[in-house]
């Protein structure tokens, strides 16, 4: 590997990472304005045009607030907690494919941080490390609300990891590969002549499972039992100051973006536009880098649709009770996941037997 290669890879990684961090301020305003829209009120509209600078104001406010470390906490774990959540959330994005490749100085670079051939396993492995931060933070706070929030959060996240893994397993079974990039390559073309050849049409049950489990994994509203503000004040981050809250918040939004990115790559064709193949597009555009830009825009649009869905669902569905949540995971989603796996295997067997 040459020096230019290393530098370009580092810059590419930095750009993708900063791009993913930008999800946080954008979602901050989208979430608040979206909530306002659904509740028929104006929402934050004072700072800048249409309230667009609200995230900046929010962040400045968070930074300028006092940092308190309460007396009763385990200091080291308490300070470490938020970063143990943010750190895995940052690492997971390495596996997301944003496009095919671009050319620079006569060499090809993948539009992905790293072409990991065990992409799905990497995401499941690193992504689940985030519960350590929540558990450490909640336990170290030495507060009953935090402890209960952390316990709920960890048991919820580990319970929903099984249906998530089973849904991902059916996708792996169908595509015959762990690599998200390979999966996206497979989804080019059309299915039955009219539909785009997307994983969603082959794995609809798998997608639904993954979608539901993604909400639970990111602690989003129908399943936000860890921080039920009506009963647990703020759940596992009750004792935390504003900037630590901001860190948890960042991690949550980055996890949401990662989950959306996974759903796009696995079930909604990744960077492929429906009905148009990459070769045709390349002929129209005439340049590899233009095509790469178009692919990145496609992925971003698809991810945005899912992010909006997260906001939409948040203000549409009421919160579950904790035992209902657990029953949903163990009694419904896990058996459905197993059945989906068997059905997929059987369909593949009969298709090959023909």
């Amino acid at each position: 590997m040459e020096w230019t290669d290393l530098i370009i890879t580092a810059v590419k990684t930095a750009v993708i990472y900063l791009g993913m961090v930008q999800v946080v301020p954008i979602m901050l305003i989208v979430e608040r304005r979206g909530a306002a829209l659904m509740q028929d009120r104006p929402g934050p509209n004072r700072v800048g045009p249409f309230g667009l600078f609200q995230p900046i104001a929010d962040v400045i406010k968070m930074m300028m607030k006092e940092v308190t470390v309460p007396r009763q906490v385990n200091k080291a774990l308490f300070l470490l907690g938020p970063f143990l959540v943010l750190f895995p959330a940052s690492l997971v994005i390495a596996a997301l494919p944003f496009g095919d490749y671009f050319t620079l100085l006569g060499r090809d670079y993948l539009l992905q941080v790293a072409n990991i051939d065990v992409g799905i396993l990497y995401v499941l492995a690193i992504g689940s490390l985030g519960i350590y931060g929540i558990l450490f933070g909640g336990w170290a706070s030495n507060n009953k609300f935090s402890l209960i929030g952390a316990m709920r959060s960890s048991s919820q996240i580990i319970s929903y990891e099984i249906p998530l893994g089973l849904a991902a397993c059916s996708a792996v079974l169908w595509y015959g590969s762990f690599s998200l990039r390979e999966m996206v390559y497979t989804q080019e073309g059309t299915f039955l002549g009219i539909l785009p050849n997307w994983g969603f049409f082959y794995q609809p049950i798998g997608f639904l499972l993954f979608f539901i489990a993604a909400f639970a994994e990111t602690n989003r509203l129908p399943f936000d039992l860890p921080e039920t503000e009506a009963e647990l004040v703020a759940g596992f981050h009750t004792e935390y100051g504003p900037m630590d809250f901001g860190t948890f918040f960042m991690a949550e939004y980055m996890n949401m973006a990662t989950m959306s990115g996974l759903m796009v790559a696995m079930y909604f064709g990744g960077w492929h536009l429906p009905w148009v193949s990459d070769v045709t597009l390349l002929q129209w555009l005439g340049s590899r880098n233009l095509l790469a830009a178009l692919q990145v825009v496609t992925v971003i649009v698809k991810i945005s649709v899912f992010m909006l869905m997260f906001v939409w669902v948040r203000w549409t569905l009421p919160r579950f009770r904790f035992d209902q949540l657990m029953r949903l995971a163990w009694r419904n989603l896990i058996p459905i996941g197993l059945i989906n796996l068997v059905i997929t295997a059987l369909i593949m067997y009969f298709r090959s037997a023909q």
Partner: protein, 121 residues
């Protein structure tokens, strides 16, 4: 291994972000520790009721144990899923093997439901 080199870069950037957030928080925020500010937060109660480090419900522990069992069992599906498509040419041997394995897994799941291990109320 070279494929994982960019992950190393990402690791460094993520560390930088964490350290940056930590320093910003330390530098910019004012400090005015007052005794009541540093006490445990509990809705409207002047002094907290007992310690939070009390014995806890075992049902959460049980869920962790069950998760361990089922996630390890589900992990065995992954290598199977990877080779399944290619193995189809040689007949249904892998399909039958997986069905037997899944039957055992389902037995375990039924046992959990029968014993009502997930009772959380």
């Amino acid at each position: 291994m070279e494929a994982f080199l960019p992950v190393g870069f990402l690791l460094i950037f993520a560390l930088l972000l964490c350290v940056g957030l930590f320093t910003v928080k330390r530098l910019l925020g004012p400090r005015n520790p007052v005794s009541s500010k540093l006490s445990v937060y509990e809705c409207g109660v002047a002094s907290p009721e007992g310690n939070a480090r009390a014995p806890f419900k075992t049902s959460f522990y049980l869920i962790a144990v069950l998760f361990l069992l089922f996630d390890v069992e589900a992990a065995f599906f992954f290598p199977w899923a990877l080779v399944y498509r290619e193995s189809l040419a040689e007949g249904p041997a892998l399909l039958i093997a997986m069905l037997i394995y899944m039957g055992l897994l389902v037995l375990g799941l039924v046992y959990i439901f029968r014993k009502d291990c997930l009772k959380l109320n």
